[in-house]
Amino acid sequence: MTAMTGAPPVEEPARIIDYLTTTDHKKIGVMYLVTAVGFLVVGGILALIMRAELAFPELQLLDESTYNQLFTMHGTGMIFFAIVPLGIGFANYLLPLQVGAPDVAFPRLNALSYWLYLAGGLVAFSGFLTASGAAAFGWYGYPPLSNETYSPGAGPNLWIMGLILSGASGILGSVNFIATVFTMRAPGMTMFRVPIFTWNILVVSLLILLTFPVLTAALALLFIDRTVSNAFFTPEAGSNSILWQHLFWFFGHPEVYIMALPFFGVVSEVVPVFSGKRIFGYRALVFATVLIGAYSFSVWAHHMFTTGAVSNLFFAATSFLIAIPTGVKFFTWIATMWRGRIRLATPMLFVIGFLFQFLVGGISGVFLASPPIDYQAHDSYYVVAHMHYVLFGGSAFAAFAAFYFWIPKISGRMLSEGLGKAHFWLVLIGFNLTFFPMHQLGLDGMARRVADYPANPGWGETNLVISLASGLIAVGTALFVWNVVRSVWMGCGAPAGHDPWGGHSLEWATSSPPPHHNFVAMPPIRSERPAWDARQAAAAEPRDG
C-alpha cells in the first residue's frame, strides 16, 4: 500500500492508480458520471433489443424469458444505476464547489459510496451470467412473483444484493452531502445564498436518507423470504403481498423525486445563465423544492390505486398537491427567461427540450393521480409514456444539458456545438416519436411488460414507428459520446477558460478544471450568485494597468 504512505499529490495527468485510491470529490464525481453514462448506454441497448422485438406483432427475436429479463434490468439499470447516479455524480463534482468548500465532509466515505455503487451495478447485472438468467419480475419486484417459488435461481438474489449495495452507497453519499452543505459552506454563504442546484441536492439527500433504509429493509426481508422461508410477503405465511408494495413505494415515490430534483436544480442553474438574468423568485423556488420533497412522503400509494387496499381518495389528494409546487417551478423558469437575452447554446437547447417534455410528463402525471383514470392507464403503455417523459424527456435531457454546461468546467475543454446540436435534434425527434404514441397505445389497452401484443388495427404500425424512432435516440447518444471523447479525451475541444458561459455560482469563479483544493481565492459572497457579482464589480471598477 504505497499510496497510503506516499508523498502529497503532484499535479500531473492522473494514472489509474490515482483513480482507484482517490478521495477527491472531483475525481469521484467524474467516475460517477462516466459509470452512470456506461449504465445508461447498457440500459439503452437493452431497450433497443426490446424495441426490435416489439417492432412487429408476434415473437421474432426473443423468447419471453429473455424479454422479461431485459425490461427488468432496463428499468433497474436506468433507475438505480444511471439516472440517480448521474444526479449524485454532478452533485459530487459541483456541490463542494458551489458552497465554496475544498471537498465533501467525509472524502473517504465518498470514495466508498462510489465503489459500492459500482459493485452494486455489477452484482445486479451479473445475473445475466447465471444459468437461469437475471431477475425477470420488473424493477419493483412484487412478491409473490419475486419469491423463490415463482422466480427461482441466483439472478433475483443478485438483483437484491446489487440494490442493497447501491442503497448503502446512496445512504453514505447523502450523509456526506448533508454534512457538507450544513458544515462546510464558505464564509458569507448563508443557507439562502446556497445555489438552487445544491438546495435540490440537499432535499434529495434527505429523501435518500429517510427512504433508502426502507428499501434496504424490504429487500432484506425479501431475501429472507427467498432463502430461508416465506415469512413476510406471502399469504401462506399469514402476511400479505401488499406490505411489500407499501414498503417499496414508500421508497419508490420519493425515489422519483430523487431522480427529478437534481435535474430541476440543473435547469434552475442553466436558465438564468443563458437568459443573462438572475433567477426569478429564488426563495419561492427553494420553498417549492422543499415542498415537493415534503409532499413526496405522502403520495406513495398512488402506485397502488388498483390494489383495492389503500385509501385512493387520500392519495389522490396528496398527489394532486404536488402539481402546485411543480407548476410554480415552471412559472419561475419562464419568468427568468422573460425579458432576458436568451442564448441558444447546446445546454439551453436541452433545457428547452426539458421544459416542453417535462410539461407533458407533468400533465400526464395529473391524469394518473386521478384514480378513475388510473384504473384505465395503470400498468399500460400510458404509464410507460408518462415515466419516460419525466425521466428521459425530463431528467436525462437536463442531464445532457448539465454535461454540455459543466464539462468545460470539469475538463477545461469546450464540447463541439455542432455535434451538440445534432445530438439535441436527433434525440428530441427520436424521443418524442418513440414515447408520444405510447400514450394512445396504453389507453387503447396495450399492457406494459409484454413480449408480444395482439395485431389490433394500427398497433403494428405504431409500434414499428416507435421502434424505428428509438434508433434516432441511439444515434444521437452515440454522437454525444463521440463529442466527449473527441473534445475531452483526444483534446480537440477549444480551451474553456474559467468561465465560458458567464456563470453565476462559485464554480465559475475558479479555474477549469479547479485546483486540488478547489479555490485559490474566494470572491465575496453576498448573494446566491457570487461569480456574477464579482463580474459586475470588476466591470464597474476602472481597470488599473
Binding site: E64, G281, A335, V360
Partner: protein, 239 residues
C-alpha cells in the same frame, strides 16, 4: 425583427397537435366506463389549455427574447409578489377542481351495492382465467391457446370477485375503462353494468411471470334474457 410570429404560430400548432395526439380514451361500453370517459375528457380539455398556455409562454419567451446580438436592455426584475401569488393560486384552484371531479367519479366507479344481481368469481392464475358464476355450476376455464369467454348480461349490475391462488394479476377490460388487481390472499370486488352488447377483449394488466402477455380473455355481453337462458342451460357455448 425576423419573423417571430410565424415561428410562434408554428409552436402553437405543434402544441395543439401534441395535445390532440395525447390520446383519447376508448369508447366506453359500461355505465361506469362512461363516467370515467367523461372525467378523462374534462382532464384532457384542462390539460390542453394548460399545455397551450405554458408551452406558449415558454415558446414566446424563447422567440421574443432570443439573443440577436443587439444591446437590448435585460430586465432586472427578479421578484414580484403579486405575480408569484398568482402562480401559486392558479394551480391550486385547478387541482382543487380536478380533485372534486375525481372524488365524484371515484365514488360512482367504486360504489358497492349490497345485493348485485349477478356475482362471478374471477380467478386469475398463471397464465389463465377462470370464471365461476355464483348460484350455478357454470365454471369457464381457459386453456393454453383457448382463452375463456366471460359472458355478461347487458343492463344488469354485475359484481366480479377477483381472486388469485399464486401471484398478483390484474383484471383489465380496456373498453370498460376499469382495471383491478387480482391479489393472492384478498378478494377485490368490482361492480359494473355493461351497456352495449358485443365482444370485448380483456387481459392481465399486472406483470405476472413468463407468459403474462398470453393471459387474455374475451367478454361477450348479451341481452339479459339470452344470458339467463344461457346460464340456466349450463353455460354451453356462447349465446
Amino acid at each position: 425583427m425576423p419573423r417571430p410570429p410565424a415561428r410562434l404560430r408554428l409552436a402553437v400548432i405543434a402544441g395543439l397537435a401534441a395535445v390532440a395526439l395525447g390520446g383519447c380514451a376508448p369508447q366506453p361500453v359500461s355505465v361506469e366506463g362512461e363516467a370515467v370517459k367523461t372525467l378523462y375528457d374534462i382532464f384532457l380539455a384542462v390539460a390542453a389549455a394548460v399545455f397551450v398556455v405554458v408551452a406558449g409562454l415558454i415558446g414566446w419567451s424563447i422567440v421574443r427574447y432570443g439573443d440577436r446580438g443587439d444591446d437590448r436592455q435585460i430586465s432586472s426584475t427578479h421578484e414580484n409578489l403579486r405575480l408569484e401569488l398568482l402562480w401559486w393560486a392558479l394551480p391550486t384552484v385547478l387541482v382543487i377542481v380536478l380533485f372534486i371531479l375525481t372524488a365524484q367519479v371515484l365514488g360512482r366507479v367504486d360504489e358497492r351495492t349490497d345485493d348485485p344481481g349477478l356475482t362471478v368469481t374471477v380467478t386469475g392464475f398463471q397464465w389463465q382465467w377462470r370464471f365461476a358464476y355464483e348460484g350455478s355450476d357454470v365454471v369457464l376455464t381457459g386453456l393454453p391457446g383457448e382463452p375463456p369467454t366471460l359472458v355478461l348480461p347487458v343492463g344488469e349490475r354485475v359484481a366480479l370477485d377477483l381472486e388469485s391462488p399464486d401471484v398478483i394479476h390484474s383484471f383489465w377490460v380496456p373498453q370498460f375503462l376499469i382495471k383491478r388487481d387480482v391479489v393472492p390472499g384478498r378478494t377485490n370486488r368490482i361492480e359494473l353494468t355493461v351497456e352495449e352488447p358485443g365482444t370485448y377483449s380483456g387481459l392481465c394488466g399486472e406483470f405476472c411471470g413468463l407468459l403474462h402477455h398470453r393471459m387474455r380473455f374475451s367478454i361477450e355481453a348479451v341481452p339479459a334474457d339470452a344470458f339467463h337462458a344461457w346460464l340456466e342451460g349450463g353455460g354451453e357455448g356462447i349465446p
